[in-house]
């Protein structure tokens, strides 16, 4: 069944959840939050969309496939540990740079751990969606994941 109320609410909630998820991701290093929670929030938004509308619509809104998110996220996470290797560090050793983003009061500390967290974020979105989409999608037999 599709509920009109739910659909309307979802269209409003999705962007909010995405913003909140990014919020959780970015500030996770300093406040409660992080890649997991951010990812779960974002994924919840899309999952809600899939529940309220249908999987096809959710896929369209997502614009990419969960599989790509997983693969990409994993690769980001794996590679985030590599930079330190170039200057004699250990794998996953943090490498930091200060980024002066316009609109930010203090310089933003950008480092490989954050990159790692972004990888986590993407993976979590990917896996939750891969599962919920697969569970919700009634059109069986479609082998393509991408």
């Amino acid at each position: 069944m599709k509920s009109l109320v739910l659909q309307t609410a979802t269209r409003i909630l999705l962007p909010v959840m995405l913003i909140v998820s990014l919020y959780a991701l970015i500030r996770g290093h300093n406040e409660p939050g992080g890649g997991f929670i951010g990812g779960l929030l974002a994924a919840s938004g899309f999952a809600l969309y899939a529940l309220a509308f249908d999987v096809e619509s959710a896929r369209r809104v997502l614009r990419t496939s969960p599989g790509t998110l997983i693969g990409g996220g994993l690769i980001v996470a794996v590679l985030s540990g590599v930079p330190a290797l170039f200057d004699g560090g250990v794998y996953m050793e943090g490498r930091w740079t200060s980024l002066d983003i316009p609109g930010m009061s203090s310089p933003f500390k950008l480092g490989t751990p954050l990159l790692f967290d972004i990888g986590v974020y993407l993976v979590v979105i990917g896996i939750v969606l891969l599962m919920t989409f697969a569970l919700e999608d009634r059109h069986d037999g479609a082998a393509a994941r991408n």
């Binding site: 069944m1 599709k2 509920s3 109320v5 739910l6 609410a9 959710a58 369209r60």
Partner: protein, 124 residues
């Protein structure tokens, strides 16, 4: 006790009280629909009050905005959830309380989908 503290404590106690009432309601009320009435409204209002208390307690911009967001989300999502459950419960044939005086919906519940969307993209 400052004024701000008074507000904080006041809102907190009121909110908590509403929550407690909601909980009592959910236990005491005779059928699902009346229980939902009690739970959704008193509950969300109660939590909203506590959130408001938090906003006044910290009294920083961010805290206020966050508290506001909590309130808005709660007040926006709680009814939606209630509507969904109510319709589902009715669809399941969950009986109304015997003292219910009138039931206009009986026999009129549309099986299948909700109203067809007016806007072309509402189905995504």
């Amino acid at each position: 006790m400052t004024i701000a503290e008074a507000f904080t404590w006041g809102f907190a106690v009121i909110g908590a009280a509403f929550c407690a009432i909601a909980a009592i309601g959910i236990v005491r009320m005779p059928d699902l629909y009346t229980r939902m009435q009690s739970a959704t409204k008193a509950g969300s209002l109660g939590v909203a009050c506590v959130a408001l208390a938090a906003g006044t307690h910290f009294a920083s911009t961010i805290a206020v905005i966050e508290a506001t967001l909590v309130i808005v989300f709660l007040l926006a999502t709680a009814p939606v959830a209630s509507i969904l459950i109510a319709r589902a419960a009715y669809g399941m044939g969950l009986p109304l309380w015997e003292q219910t005086t009138r039931d206009d919906l009986r026999g009129n519940l549309d099986e299948g989908d909700a109203p067809r969307a007016a806007e072309p993209d509402s189905k995504g």
